[in-house]
Symmetry: C2
DNA sequence: AAAATGACAAAAAACATAAAATGTCATTTG
DNA sequence: CAAATGACATTTTATGTTTTTTGTCATTTT
C-alpha cells in the first residue's frame, strides 16, 4: 500500500519542482560560501542527495550558475514591467518611477548580497546573450513609455521612440550598469536626479 | 680639460632628464611585453643601466607605473583644454567638439595600445586620487563651456553650471568611462550622438 | 521505469617548492 | 661627491605535485 505522504505529494499542486529547489539550494550555498567556495557536492548535500543527481537537471555547474543569474535578472526586470505598462499614469511619472525602481533594485542587491552580485557580474562577462536579452527587455519597457509620452504630447513629436529609449538607457548607465554600480563610492541620489532631469528636458524639447 | 660632449650637454637645453627617459623606457617595455611581463630589470637594461639606479628616481615600481599613467592621462586632457577655452566658438559647438575629441582619444588608446590601457585601468582601481584629479580637470572644462553657453544665451538661464557639467559627464560615461569603453562591442558613434543630442536639448530647455 | 546512487576518469584547485623580481645599501666610478 | 653599481635580503611569481571537484554512467532503489 502507498504511504500517506506519497498520496499527498501526488495530488498536491505539483509541489516544488526539484530543479527549482536546486536553484534555491545553489543560491543559499552561494550566499553562505561565496562564488569561489561553492561546489556541486555541497549544493547536493544541502538537499540531502548525491551530487550526480544534480546533473540530471542541469548539464553543468556553469549552467546551474547561469540559471541562478537568469532568475535573478528576472527578479529585477519583472516588477518594472508593471510600472512601464501602467497607461493610467503620465509617461514622465512612469519613466521616473521606473528608473528609480531599477536603480534601487540594483543598489539594494549590491549592498545586501554582494556575493550573488558577483555571480551575476561574472556571468555578465561570460554570457553575453543572457545579458543582451535582459537589456532588450529593459529597452522595450523604456521604448513603450517614451512612445506613450510622445502620443500623449508629453514628449516632443519629432522623437524616435526606439532611438530615444536607447539614448536614455545609455545616459543612465552610470547608475545601473554593473561595472559602475559596483564602484565605490557609488553615484549619489542627487547625481541620478540631475541626469534624469536633463534627459527629461531633452525628451520634452526634442531634437535640436 | 672637459670633453666636447660634456660641454655640449651642459649648455644644451637641459637634455632630457633621466626620469623622463625612464618613463619613456617603461612605456616602451610595457608596450612590448605587456603589464604582466614588465619588470624593472628589463626597463633598466633597455637604458643600459642597472635596475638599482631606477630607484634613485622612483621610490617603487608602482610609483613608476603610476607616473606613466599620469603622463598618459595628461596626454588625454591637455589637448581638450584648448577646445574648452576657445571663447571664439559657440558653447554648443565646443561641447560637441570636446566630447568628440575625448571619445576619440579614449577609443584610439584602447584600440592602438591595449597594454598601456591596462596599466591605466589598473591604476584607476588602485589609485583613486590620481583619477579624481583627472575627472576634476574634465569637469572643470565642461563647466566652463556650460557657463559660457548660459552667459551667451545658448543654454537655459536656470542652469547651475557645476551641476549640469556633472550631469553631462555622468550621462556620457557610457562613452568615456574606462570600464565601459573597454567593453565589447563598444558603444557606437550613433549612440553617442543620440545621447549627446538629448543632453544638448536638455541644456537648451533647462530644468522642467 | 523513473529517480537516485556511488564508483570512477578527467579536469581544476590548492599546496609546497623553486625561481625570479623587487627594493636596499655598502661600495665603486667618473 | 653625485651617479651608478651589484651583491643581497625580502617579496612575488612560476612550476610541478597532490588533493579536490566535476561530470559520467553502470548499477541500485523505490
Amino acid at each position: 500500500m502507498g504511504s500517506g505522504v506519497s498520496w499527498v505529494i501526488r495530488t498536491m499542486p505539483a509541489a516544488v519542482p526539484l530543479s527549482q529547489r536546486i536553484l534555491d539550494a545553489a543560491e543559499a550555498v552561494l550566499r553562505r560560501h561565496g562564488l569561489e567556495k561553492t561546489n556541486v557536492v555541497d549544493i547536493a548535500r544541502s538537499l540531502g542527495m548525491s551530487h550526480g543527481n544534480i546533473y540530471r537537471h542541469f548539464p553543468s555547474k556553469q549552467a546551474l550558475l547561469d540559471a541562478v543569474a537568469v532568475r535573478w535578472l528576472h527578479a529585477v526586470s519583472d516588477p518594472l514591467e508593471g510600472i512601464a505598462d501602467d497607461r493610467a499614469r503620465p509617461a514622465t511619472e512612469r519613466l521616473r518611477a521606473w528608473f528609480d525602481a531599477l536603480r534601487r533594485a540594483k543598489r539594494r542587491k549590491v549592498r545586501d548580497d554582494p556575493e550573488l552580485f558577483q555571480v551575476y557580474h561574472g556571468i555578465v562577462v561570460a554570457m553575453r546573450d543572457v545579458v543582451d536579452e535582459h537589456v532588450n527587455t529593459l529597452l522595450g519597457q523604456v521604448e513603450r513609455m517614451v512612445a506613450d509620452g510622445v502620443a500623449a504630447g508629453e514628449f516632443s513629436r519629432g522623437l524616435d521612440a526606439a532611438a530615444s529609449a536607447r539614448a536614455f538607457l545609455q545616459a543612465m548607465s552610470a547608475f545601473h550598469h554593473p561595472a559602475l554600480v559596483m564602484q565605490d563610492p557609488p553615484a549619489t541620489e542627487e547625481d541620478a536626479r540631475a541626469v534624469f532631469g536633463l534627459m527629461l528636458a531633452g525628451l520634452r524639447a526634442g531634437p535640436a
